[in-house]
């Protein structure tokens, strides 16, 4: 409905969305790897036993 657009979306902003849309998948992929690697080095908190 382009006739209802009343704000200027900006042509550069349209293009950058396409680039980011494609990159986000890649970024998320690496973020997941990073989180996984970090989790290997992070100690999992052990439950303290009540004495």
């Amino acid at each position: 409905m382009p006739e209802l657009i009343y704000i200027d979306p900006g042509s550069g902003s349209y293009l950058v969305q396409v680039i980011i849309g494609a990159l986000v998948g890649v970024v998320m992929f690496f973020k997941n790897i990073k989180m996984y690697l970090l989790s290997l080095f992070r100690r999992t908190p052990k439950k303290q036993k009540d004495e």
Binding site: M1, L4, P9, S11, S13, V16, I19, I20, G21
Partner: protein, 458 residues
């Protein structure tokens, strides 16, 4: 009854409809051109979803009303108690408004609609949380269409948030300089180099700014963005906004009360007196607390269902008040960053789009001005007479604390400047305030030289 409808100057941009006032109520007309978007909102189930989550202001349809001939229908939304603007919000307020906007955008997509604008002016702090007030912000989603409001979101939400994240919190007034959003090429230059190392900041701001500078002019062919990528784009914004933290540089007032608490039981004594006096007053429905800090005195008023505007010039103090009350259903308090000596002006086309703070405030039933007068009169050189006139315009009943020159806090203020305030003493204060007010009660706060007054405007 039967006052003629008066269009509100802030809503002329969107051709889908406009806001008008009639008989003290605010209504929204849906124009014929906004019919498709409105019907899609109602029929897709999105309206029910958003109002159930308290993300969108609920309304009732008033088929019996029209403001002008282009009307499809008229909506009567739940009424707001006060209107605040993003340039008066603290970091967390803007962050929550941004997250709300993104969540709504994703919910809209799930229902086959798209959020067509993303400006903080469409969000209000209402009944204890942020809520979208523009019912006409939606239109049917066309498959593979990019997000029209993406640039607007980056400029008006992301840019100020990032600046506050990387620089400091005292920056909300930047939005007063750029109410429609900050130019991305400027933001890109203002942000420190390390912001480029954050992948999402790099993409949404720095790369975005570069592309926008290159690609000026009309779009020859609209780029294609599949729905899952659009969802990913919005999700990435959400992750970025969520990761931002306000830079925790201590301001003058950020820990005022924890510091004041060390001064024996001064605060407790003052609380008891103020609360006793304000409880004895009848018919108080609205209040303003000037120099509210983190809301120590505003919150008890709000608890008594008195709608209280908690105004303070300190962004950190207002932020901590907001964080205390958000999501708690505290619906009678409005925290706002307002510098008493520079309250928000009227801005926008014809200076009428966004009224000034004092216009919006009007004259409240009750006003507090506690431990604040010395900062105004000695810190900012406001004459006592002028201050009395200003306060008399803002409230009918005033509870004010006079802090004399003998007080250690005033001594600190006077260390750096000459004592050019010969009339700044209790008698001078009473004389000046008596021109605008009738003094009804006075009490010395035990253990201090400070005096509390209760007065009624003449």
């Amino acid at each position: 009854m039967n006052e003629s409808p008066r269009a509100i100057p802030s809503s002329y941009r969107d051709p889908a409809g406009f806001i008008f006032q009639q008989d003290g109520q605010v209504y929204r007309q849906v124009n014929n051109s906004g019919q498709a978007g409105y019907e899609a909102l109602m029929q897709s189930g999105l309206y029910n979803f958003l109002t159930a989550k308290k993300w969108l202001i609920p309304h009732t349809e008033r088929k019996d009303m029209v403001a002008d001939t282009g009307a499809f229908t008229v909506l009567q939304p739940e009424q707001l108690a006060f209107t605040g603007y993003a340039y008066e919000w603290s970091f967390s307020m803007l962050q929550d408004a941004a997250l709300l906007t993104l969540r709504i955008a994703r919910a809209a997509l799930d229902h086959g609609l798209i959020l067509k604008d993303a400006t903080p002016f469409n969000i209000q702090f209402h009944k204890g949380s942020m809520i979208l007030i523009d019912t006409l912000s939606f239109e049917p989603y066309t498959e593979e269409q990019p997000w029209i409001a993406y640039r607007q979101f980056c400029e008006s939400f992301l840019a100020p948030l990032l600046l506050m994240h990387y620089k400091q919190q005292q920056l909300p007034s930047l939005q007063l300089a750029w109410p429609e959003g900050m130019p991305l090429n400027l933001v890109s230059k203002l942000l420190p180099f390390k912001s480029r190392l954050s992948m999402l900041t790099y993409l949404h701001i720095h790369l975005h700014a570069r592309m926008a500078a290159k690609k000026k002019g009309t779009i020859r062919q609209k780029p294609v963005l599949p729905r899952n990528k659009l969802d990913g784009l919005i999700r990435s914004l959400e992750i970025l906004v969520q990761s931002l933290r306000c830079s925790n540089r201590n301001t003058t007032w950020g820990d005022y009360y924890s510091e004041a608490a060390q001064r024996q039981d001064y605060l407790e004594q003052k609380k008891t007196l103020v609360s006793q006096w304000s409880r004895e007053l009848d018919g108080i429905k609205t209040a303003v607390d000037f120099g509210a800090n983190d809301g120590t005195f505003s919150l008890p008023l709000a608890e008594r269902s008195i709608h209280t505007v908690a105004a303070d010039g300190d962004a950190v103090a207002i932020n901590s008040l907001y964080e205390k009350i958000r999501g708690t259903g505290f619906d009678h308090i409005q925290p706002l960053i307002i510098d008493f000596t520079y309250p928000s002006p009227a801005i926008g086309t014809g200076n009428t789009e966004r009224p000034s703070f004092l216009q919006r405030l009007g004259k409240r039933d009750l006003g507090y001005c506690l431990a604040f007068i010395h900062h105004l009169c000695i810190g900012k050189n406001i004459p006592l007479q002028k201050l009395a006139e200003l306060l008399a315009d803002s409230c009918h009943i005033l509870i004010i604390e006079f802090v004399p020159k003998t007080d250690e806090k005033v001594q600190v203020l006077l260390q750096q400047k000459a004592d050019i305030y010969p009339d700044y003493h209790a008698a001078g204060f009473e004389q000046s305030f008596s021109t605008c007010f009738r003094i009804e009660k006075t009490a010395t706060i035990p253990g201090t030289d400070r005096t509390l007054y209760l007065m009624r405007s003449k």
